[in-house]
């Protein structure tokens, strides 16, 4: 088990006290039962498809990851090196649980899996990401997505 107390004190303090925007709203969207939802992954692990441009520094945009992307073609280009990468090296589902979503869809626990998934690089200032995230919401709607899971790294 690893918690903040297991990290070097300066890193733990920095992570716990990271500034975040002061949100004025408390959005809350309801929807159908899980068995009817279409689910997409929007990661903040700095994921890229092999051969495409990795995240450079704190790029605020996102990368597109087709559901057909092979496991061997998914790479992490997050700027931070202060997290474990060996779990992802062995199994992408540790970070990007596409196979698990497919399992849940095959078992009719969820309705379906989105055709396309996405990744930001989470060390970027959220304010810089905002316009990209709002534009991404439009893409998700066009794919009829009504549930998004947001894994960090």
């Amino acid at each position: 088990m690893t918690r903040l107390t297991d990290l070097p004190p300066t890193q733990a303090k920095r992570l716990a006290e990271l500034e975040c925007p002061d949100f004025e709203t408390r959005p809350w969207v309801t929807g159908p039962a899980l068995s009817q939802r279409r689910v997409a992954i929007v990661s903040s692990a700095g994921l890229v498809v092999r051969g495409e441009m990795p995240f450079r520094g704190r790029d605020p945009d996102y990368r597109v990851i087709s559901a057909a992307t092979k496991a061997e073609d998914l790479l992490i280009s997050h700027i931070s090196i202060n997290f474990d990468r060996t779990g992802f090296q062995e199994d992408r589902n540790v970070v990007f649980p596409l196979d698990r979503l497919n399992d849940l869809a095959n078992e009719d626990v969820i309705g379906s899996v989105a055709a396309t998934h996405y990744s930001f690089m989470g060390a970027t200032d959220p304010v810089q990401m905002e316009p990209h995230a709002r534009e991404l919401a439009g893409r998700l709607k066009r794919d009829r997505v009504d549930a998004v899971i947001l894994p960090p790294v």
Partner: protein, 243 residues
């Protein structure tokens, strides 16, 4: 990340975040989040454990059916079984570990170790069907050569469009690390990340070379290089104190 939950939910799509750092999530107050007690880098817990991973993702997705928010922040109750060390794990054989020495020696040692680990790395690929080496776009031996050039005091030009030389160096270092750590994890044992990190940073010439590279570039007059070397080569928990 929790801030994305605000933006996407404001646009009309329900979201649930996985939280690795609970205080951060409590500050951000996303619509829904599941805090997991796993190490950074493993939001869905243990690798190669589909049943466990499924319990995590389902616990998160079930929050979408709750009606008692916002804000919902729940805890996942299980620890990651793969966080424990595996006493059966043995690191790959590397003769005469080198932990320090002149930069030229470490550069040569780095290139030699890449060759020594070829069989173990091929074993890894056979086991898992993939490698995460590839950010630089170079072969791992070219990555090692590129890093070695820097250790020799040269400043080789970037080998990829869109990368500055310092960024090229950073991704070459990333690929060397990925290659060595994958090679080290080949086989039936299930080493923890700490076991693998201890071996790489304290028991290999490659780790020693990256330590030396960081130390040398911290003295650079190029602020960008200094920033990359200081923060994006050796994990904070592995940085050696000066002296």
């Amino acid at each position: 990340m929790s801030a994305l939950g605000h933006y996407i939910e404001e646009e009309g799509i329900a979201t649930v975040a996985i939280s690795l750092i609970r205080p951060q999530t409590e500050n951000t107050e996303p619509p829904r989040a599941l805090w997991v007690p796993f190490e950074l880098g493993r939001p869905f817990g243990p690798p190669s454990d589909p049943a466990f991973q499924k319990r995590v993702i389902l616990a998160a997705l079930r929050l979408l059916e709750r009606e008692d928010g916002p804000v919902l922040i729940e805890n996942f109750p299980e620890d990651d079984p793969r966080a424990q060390p595996d006493p059966a794990w043995q690191p790959p054989f590397i003769p005469t570990a080198v932990s320090a020495g002149p930069a030229e020696t470490l550069a040569s040692r780095l290139e030699t170790e890449i060759l020594l680990l070829i069989d173990a790395h091929e074993h890894w690929i056979g086991q898992h069907g993939r490698t995460t080496v590839g950010l630089s776009g170079l072969s791992v031996s070219d990555c090692a050569r590129y890093v070695a050039d820097w250790l020799h005091g040269r400043v080789p030009p970037s080998l990829r469009d869109g990368f500055s030389a310092p960024l090229m160096l950073r991704f070459a270092v990333d690929d060397v690390k990925a290659y060595c750590l994958e090679a080290a994890a080949a086989g039936p044992a299930k080493p923890s990340s700490r076991q693998l990190g201890d071996w790489f940073w304290s028991g290999t010439g490659a780790g020693a070379a990256i330590h030396a590279l960081r130390a040398a570039q911290l003295a650079s007059e190029d602020d960008r290089l200094k920033l990359i070397a200081g923060n994006f080569m050796v994990p904070a928990a592995r940085v050696r104190s000066a002296g």
